[in-house]
Symmetry: C2
Subunit: 543 residues, 2 copies
């Protein structure tokens, strides 16, 4: 007998399938066989030239072309709809799809442009933007992979959706996540597993994994994710795209669906993933120009502050290994590539160890389970679905804190952050200069085998959530079994058992072609500066 929750989930999947007009789909028999793992080039093989021509442009190039009257939003939106559908056919990305709404909006924007004599409504005029399932769009559901939440179309937009509409964005799709968002994976009992474009046995990362996947296939130029422990940066890195985790209080999070909603111990932030670094800047600037602080009381009234990188050599603190869990060989190689490129470009780099990272990560994990898992368990129990095993560490075996215990937690958190700040203040390069940016891996591995619970350590990203530092993730390389050979665990990590298991996971062929990125980290609320400094790193890598 099929359980009621399974019936509900199947009905939701059928509804999603029905929302994809056949005209946009590539016929089944033209799709590559299931055993073709790298499908990143399939769009170029199967889609018409005009679709490819448009969708290979960055968001920045697209808005310029539309503003100049060289492309219409209808043409651009149609092209991305087609490419996104193919991406979905290959990777299982969508949770909601509403192309008619998007095309109507695109036509309206084109009409405005035409009738106004070439005016745009804003800096994102006509640009398709993908949304993680959390973001609410009026009339569209945000079930977040919870069976219990199926069937309730939203009555209003998330604030960020409203502001991006004002800036001219066109929304057409929402993308997959892990149940409860508390995993760096992308699977749930409603929509199943989303996989990686570069190796379909790998996950696209998570929790904004649907965004990573759609962007890696250029099914959208820009998407919005959220990050409470790495959920923007991990899918950026695992999917070979760009992402920024802004500091809390910069971008609006109002009316965004969430689990552990209204916990203030460590807060989730929202931010863009994109196909280029310029697009992260385009998005951030366009959003801040909408004055989010006039709508979300948590946002600070900080206009976008243009930042020009100083002409002198920059100083980079490089932390390839946090000393808690040593990353896999492809990750160590990626950091080395960045280090060498920066050196070659004349910048100063030095090896850096962050302040007691294991302690920070332990505090963070307490933050994620302040309610003893009650919130997530409640949403699972509401339908009887089992959830996914990935999130069980955040549900089982925890007791909710009492308020005095929460105060103690807040104390530990503040003391750690204070000590960390002081440590950073006192960190100087060998030549005696202060640090311009800190570079660390995004995770221990080059993506991760899908659905196998092998992402054992989130400290590389999570620590920065605790600190609320600005992080920009950029792609660097891909795992190559020929270079990134297996080895025994170095045994230097403080979490020795986790490191041992993690290195046992590292069978080079299993990770083949998995993208690897790094994050460029600055202080709190330094979005503009870190985007600019990430540009320096990218230039060095591309030189």
């Amino acid at each position: 007998m099929v359980a009621l929750w399974e019936e509900k989930a199947a009905a939701k999947r059928a509804q999603l399938a029905a929302s994809i007009p056949k005209e946009y789909m590539v016929p089944e028999d033209q799709l590559p066989p299931a055993d073709r793992l790298d499908v990143s080039n399939v769009p170029k093989e199967l889609l018409p030239a005009d679709v490819i021509e448009i969708t290979e442009l960055t968001g920045t190039e697209l808005v310029a072309a539309m503003a100049a009257g060289k492309l219409t939003s209808v043409a651009v939106t149609t092209a991305f709809i087609k490419r996104a559908v193919l991406a979905h056919q290959l990777l299982n990305i969508f949770t909601e799809f509403f192309p008619q709404v998007a095309l109507k909006r695109a036509a309206e924007l084109d009409e405005y442009y035409k009738s106004s004599g070439g005016k745009t409504v804003g800096p994102l005029h006509g640009l398709p933007v993908s949304l993680k399932d959390q973001f609410r769009v009026k009339g569209v559901e945000a079930c977040m992979g919870y069976v219990a939440w199926i069937g309730e179309p939203d009555k209003e937009n998330s604030t960020i959706v409203d502001l991006l509409l004002k800036a001219g964005a066109v929304f057409f799709v929402k993308t997959n996540i892990p149940t409860s968002l508390m995993a760096a994976e992308t699977r749930n009992c409603v929509f199943g597993q989303t996989v990686n474009a570069y190796n379909r046995t790998l996950a696209p990362g998570g929790s904004s994994g649907g965004e990573g996947a759609i962007l890696s296939m250029k099914g959208a130029p820009i998407g919005i994710g959220t990050d409470i422990g790495g959920s923007i940066r991990i899918p950026s890195s695992f999917s070979g795209v760009y992402g920024i985790r802004p500091s809390h209080e910069r971008f609006p999070y109002l009316k965004v669906a969430n689990s552990l909603e209204y916990s203030e111990t460590v807060v989730s932030v929202d931010g863009p993933l994109a196909v280029s670094l310029d697009d992260l800047t385009l998005f951030s600037k366009a959003l801040v120009a909408q004055e989010p602080w006039k709508h979300d009381p948590r946002c600070i009234a900080l206009p976008f502050r243009e930042y020009e990188v100083p002409k002198r050599p920059l100083v980079f603190a490089i932390e390839a290994n946090d000393g808690v869990v040593t990353p896999h060989p492809p990750v160590l190689r990626a950091v080395k590539m960045v280090t060498e490129a920066l050196k070659k470009a004349g910048h100063e780099v030095f090896e850096f160890k962050s302040y007691k990272p294991a302690e920070g990560v332990e505090i963070l994990v307490r933050a994620w389970t302040v309610d003893g898992g009650a919130n997530i368990q409640g949403d699972l129990d509401a339908s009887g679905e089992p959830g996914i095993p990935d999130i069980m560490p955040f549900v089982k075996g925890h007791k909710a804190l009492t308020i005095p215990e929460l105060f103690k937690f807040n104390k530990d958190k503040l003391e750690y952050k204070t000590a960390f700040l002081e440590y950073m203040n006192n960190t100087l390069s060998p030549s005696g200069k202060p640090v311009d940016a800190w570079i660390r891996p995004v995770g221990v591995s080059a993506s991760v085998p899908a659905g196998q619970l092998k992402l054992r350590y989130l400290g590389y990203t999570g620590l920065l959530n605790l600190l609320d530092y600005t992080c920009v993730a950029i792609p660097v390389t891909k795992a190559d079994p020929a270079i990134d050979v297996a080895a025994p665990a170095p045994g230097t990590g403080e979490w020795a058992e986790v490191e041992k298991l993690s290195w046992e996971d590292y069978v080079p062929e299993d990770f083949k072609n998995g993208p690897v990125g790094v994050q460029i980290v600055g202080g709190r609320l330094e979005e503009e500066r870190m985007l600019a400094v990430a540009g320096v790193v990218e230039s060095a890598l591309k030189a």
Copy 2:
């Protein structure tokens, strides 16, 4: 038999008394009789002309005089020590007194000035600054009126103390508070009751009441208080001085003693009280110049942004009565005086009602009692002291929230703040202009009879803590039984019973000479702008 806690408290009082050198005291027999209620002019009657000459200057005038070599810090510090001691003899203000430390520091600053050829160490060079008992000074206690905390000299300075030292401040005294800080009064089982300079049967307000009292007597030009529900603004208003409640994350609160420490539901902020508006600006600018964000991870990297008031007429939303509890006649008169003065100066004023203030205040009160009073009760129980009746509402009869209840609280708080922000965005003056500042009373009364539990409503200040808006309190007038005649409660307040009791309290003679201020309110993190706009209000009042 004297209880152990009483013995400990008596010993602490004896220690304090012994810390005041006789040479600085006015002989008992020269002091005014206990039934002289207004002692605000006693310093001028009893202290030497040179002391008066110095101490009548504002902080801004004093730092200018010292920077120009016209006064030494030793002379200035000595003068304030003398005036502060007399103030203490009259009002019972001190908790800690360390004049030798201050004079040594002042001599060092003078020596630096001399030997460097007229350089200052910073913008507060040589200026005596008073500290609420919460602020930690190495080697000095911060028992906060808790008997259990007596006897533990601090091992390090509060961050704000360190930064002000760098700016050149001289610390010489710490001042009285109510037990636990959760009262707009100033009394505790260790140091007893602090009273009001303008009417010694009145309280100086609280919880930064010692600061209000010392500043009202010009025993210091500037002091530092803290505010979680009005604790800077109420003593400013009740003592006839100036104060600013900055937004959270602007000034550093690190290593400041507190009760309910590490609660993040509604947070206490620290800020200056002063004898002039210029001094609030002097202090704020000097503190921000020390880059507090490099030390306290909660502080935002916002340099001091000079603000020039536009030349056009400003728009003021005037809320004399929040509709929850109608203020007493002297307060209504004060707001009317401000309204008339602004009108006369050509500004646009209109009657304003804030958004559901009773709802906001109810949320705030829940924030103050999230732990069910456990923290405060624990600190009382540790010595067996009874505490003060003022704080019993925050100790008795509450159950600690559970974490899910806390999430619900956070939800209610965010929704209220969001609705409020939207309401403010939509508020326009009758001529259709947006509001430059919102003016409301600081409290329901002109000070309050000391120790009689008659301050029944803190919503006028507390609502702004919930909203985290910037508020500047300025003095306006004093209660005058001849004008501010008694009347029955208007009966228009939503909290009818509280309003009734509050108006029964209003026996004009009991409040005679009690100072009344107003607060000038802006958005979040608008310290510079609100200080400038408060200057406009003050100019109008003085015209």
